[in-house]
């Protein structure tokens, strides 16, 4: 499956990625499993996605939890807790 991933705020700055297109062998994948896939890239990725930072996820512009399932064509986003207003 092909998905698009966006990164924001501290994640974007530290990972030096604002977005990427990713192709995966799976037909569906939980948010937590996708974090695990990305965390394998390097120690920084591991720390940002599975470390002490509370990382929030969104699928197709909806906030979701770690168990939510990602399928082909989805737009995924990872970011720290929001601090607007």
């Amino acid at each position: 499956m092909k998905i698009k991933i966006f990164y924001f705020a501290r994640l974007k700055e530290t990972l030096k990625f604002s977005s990427e297109d990713l192709e995966l062998p799976d037909t569906e994948l939980s948010v937590l499993k996708l974090k695990g896939v990305l965390a394998k890239r390097s120690e920084v990725w591991q720390k940002m996605l599975l470390g002490s930072l509370k990382v929030r996820g969104a699928i197709n512009h909806e906030l979701v939890d770690d168990q939510a399932l990602i399928v082909d064509g989805d737009e995924v986003a990872f970011f720290p807790p929001v601090t607007g207003g």
Partner: protein
């Protein structure tokens, strides 16, 4: 209903005038304006930068306003949130709610702010003498959202 994410400043009078013109049964207009404070957590803030998730932000704000309108008798609502770089004292966000009665307008306005703070994808970065720092979310904001 008007919802916008913008880098330009906003004019509260213009927004309220538009809401008032739309209908004559408005008895109460409650507005919240959030400003950049010059000091945060003991440090002087010289600049605040707001980032957001363009595809998601307006949808999230629309969902929050729709939720408020389903709970209270909202006649009209305006939510404007700025992004980009702001200086101390500048306006960050406006939430204005029109209703026939004040209790409905107060509740809906505070609800929208509490949800915006915890659900809408904005992130603040402060510039202080010690450098840049991303702000952390606050437990008090999560508590404020959960009470509704």
């Amino acid at each position: 209903m008007k919802i916008a994410v913008q880098s330009e400043d906003f004019d509260l009078n213009v927004e309220l005038a538009r809401m008032r013109e739309s209908r004559k049964d408005i008895g109460a207009l409650v507005s919240f304006v959030g400003l950049v404070r010059d000091v945060n957590d003991g440090e002087t803030v010289s600049q605040l930068t707001l980032e957001h998730y363009p595809g998601m932000t307006e949808k999230a704000l629309q969902a929050i306003v729709a939720d408020a309108a389903s709970r209270w008798a909202v006649l009209d609502a305006t939510v404007l949130h700025r992004v980009g770089s702001l200086q101390a004292s500048e306006q960050i966000v406006l939430v204005a709610v029109a209703s026939a009665h004040r209790d409905q307008a107060f509740k809906a306005c505070e609800f929208i702010m509490d949800y915006l703070k915890t659900q809408a994808p904005f992130w603040k970065k402060e510039l202080t003498a010690s450098g840049e720092r991303w702000l952390d979310d606050k437990e008090s904001d999560h508590d404020a959202q959960k009470r509704w």
